[in-house]
């Protein structure tokens, strides 16, 4: 691992020297052109973050709507959720993105609904649905990790299913759900790069466009990776903090 880092550092350093084939000038902040390029690339952050946050929020809602009936002991109630989860998990993100962006409007039109799905919402819908199958499973394992005795005790003091979930099960399950859910957010951030292929102006798309005009893929994609790295590291840091906090709470 250490060696790998050393190698990577060496490669980059060598590139910075005048003798190499690196051309850092494309993103040299001291020149006007370099600075313009950098701001163009960094401007993608807003879209990437907005896209990820909205998709994650939707995924959390859809996941709950799928997870709750999925845990029913009645097979006819749980079956649709099981099918949804198995089905969605099996579809790769990119084909789903194409289907939602190019196919869904056609389907809707044939049903008499005319909607234009732009790149942003196409990506949001796809990411949310694709991720919701995983979110649902996170909810399920979190809720099922709460001992059955809790539900039984709630029944004996007359609580309804909804009250049991709200006052007894979810407040306890949330400690086990939040950390993996936050982890799942990292996955969404990374997968949001796919939105570039349908023209969504986020980090990856901006990098692609700059590569086309500047012919400097190595430098631009290196910066792109660093952009994601910084974003993900910030989120990881937050996730780890959350895990520590939740763990500490549990033992109290």
């Amino acid at each position: 691992m250490k060696n790998l880092f050393a190698l990577a550092a060496l490669t980059l350093l060598a590139g910075c020297g005048s003798g190499g084939n690196w051309g850092w000038y494309v993103i040299d902040p001291t020149t006007t052109q370099g600075w313009n390029n950098i701001t163009f690339l960094l401007d993608g952050f807003g879209a990437t973050i907005l896209l990820s946050v909205i998709a994650a929020a939707l995924s959390m809602v859809i996941g709950m709507l799928v997870a709750l009936p999925g845990m029913s002991t009645n097979r006819w109630i749980s079956l649709p959720s099981r099918i949804y989860i198995e089905f969605i998990r099996a579809i790769p993100l990119l084909p789903m993105l194409f289907w939602v962006f190019y196919g869904l409007p056609v389907v809707l039109q044939s049903m008499g609904i005319t909607v234009r799905i732009d790149a942003f919402w196409g990506a949001v819908i796809t990411l949310a649905i694709s991720d919701s199958a995983f979110t649902a499973e996170i909810y399920r394992s979190g809720i099922q990790s709460i001992a059955r005795g809790q539900t039984e005790a709630a029944k004996t003091i007359g609580l309804t299913y909804g009250q049991t979930m709200r006052y007894v099960i979810l407040p306890q399950a949330i400690r086990r759900i939040l950390p993996p859910l936050a982890n799942q957010f990292i996955y969404i951030v990374k997968m949001s790069a796919f939105a570039s292929v349908i023209g969504m102006q986020e980090l990856t798309r901006r990098a692609n466009e700059l590569v086309v005009t500047e012919y400097r893929p190595l430098e631009i994609y290196t910066l792109l990776i660093l952009e994601y790295l910084v974003l993900v590291l910030i989120i990881s840091f937050f996730v780890r903090w959350l895990e520590r906090k939740m763990g500490a709470d549990e033992s109290r």
């Binding site: 001992a147 005795g149 809790q150 039984e152 005790a153 709630a154 029944k155 004996t156 003091i157 007359g158 609580l159 309804t160 009250q163 006052y167 007894v168 407040p171 306890q172 109290r252």
Partner: protein, 252 residues
């Protein structure tokens, strides 16, 4: 319970021809049991004999496959009847099943406020009344995890009493306790028995049974093998299986 209380239904619990299977396993076999108002029943028998399953059928934590259960005049059947029956029946579990994320006070007021619609003030007054009865009013603001096992079980009893049930079910209430805490819990149950509460207690505590029971029920392999007053039961067990069981547990 004195006669002038005039219960409008002849018996507290009537169980007729009860059968239950877990797949192939015949867990309850043609169980008939009638419990009068104010009667204290102790159910004993080897593990796996169906004692817990039987009392868990009384408040429908387990569903039975054949037979009738009538609790205080209500025949168990649809969801409404189950709700009506649970409103009359309190239950105390082997593992306490307190809600660990709530304070003792919140554990006690949750049912009265959410299921019965009591105001917070009324629910808290009621909770304090029963906490005093189980002799731990000073613990009201702590979380269950800060209490000893014996205290937790007494809180669990108080939580059930806060719903003001007519019938109490105890499922091995002292089996998870350290030996030195058993008597403090049994004392509370005896006190409750003396107050005229109808109760079914599943337990191996034969000293308690002698002190508190009106009638002993001995179960083996899912069937009621023998019933009788504690004197008959302990002095002159009628069946060989019962004699063997008593010899085994009284040996220590």
């Amino acid at each position: 319970m004195p006669d002038d209380a005039a219960p409008d239904h002849a018996n507290a619990i009537e169980i007729k021809g009860l059968n239950k299977w877990y797949d192939e396993y015949h867990a309850l076999k043609d169980v008939d049991l009638t419990v009068q108002h104010g009667e204290r029943i102790v159910v004993c028998g080897p593990s796996g004999s169906g004692k817990s399953t039987l009392i868990r059928c009384v408040n429908s934590l387990e569903e039975h496959d054949e037979g009738q259960i009538i609790v205080d005049g209500t025949l168990m059947g649809d969801a409404a009847s189950v709700e009506a029956i649970r409103a009359e029946v309190g239950m105390v579990f082997q593992q306490f099943n307190l809600f660990p994320h709530l304070t003792i006070m919140q554990n006690l007021t949750l049912g009265p406020m959410k299921a019965r619609g009591l105001s917070r003030a009324d629910a808290e007054a009621r909770a304090m009344k029963y906490l005093e009865r189980v002799q731990i009013p000073e613990q009201a603001d702590k979380k269950p995890g800060a209490l000893s096992g014996g205290q937790q079980q007494r809180v669990a009893i108080a939580r059930s009493l806060c719903m003001e049930p007519k019938i109490m079910l105890f499922d091995e209430p002292t089996s998870a306790l350290d030996p030195e805490m058993i008597s403090e819990v049994l004392d509370v149950i005896v006190d409750l028995a003396d107050s005229g509460m109808t109760m079914i207690v599943v337990t191996h505590e034969m000293g308690f049974a002698r002190r508190a029971a009106d009638r002993m029920v001995f179960m083996d392999h899912g069937a009621i093998v023998e019933t009788g007053t504690p004197t008959e039961f302990f002095e002159a067990p009628k069946t060989e299986r019962c004699r063997t069981f008593l010899n085994q547990i009284l040996k220590h």
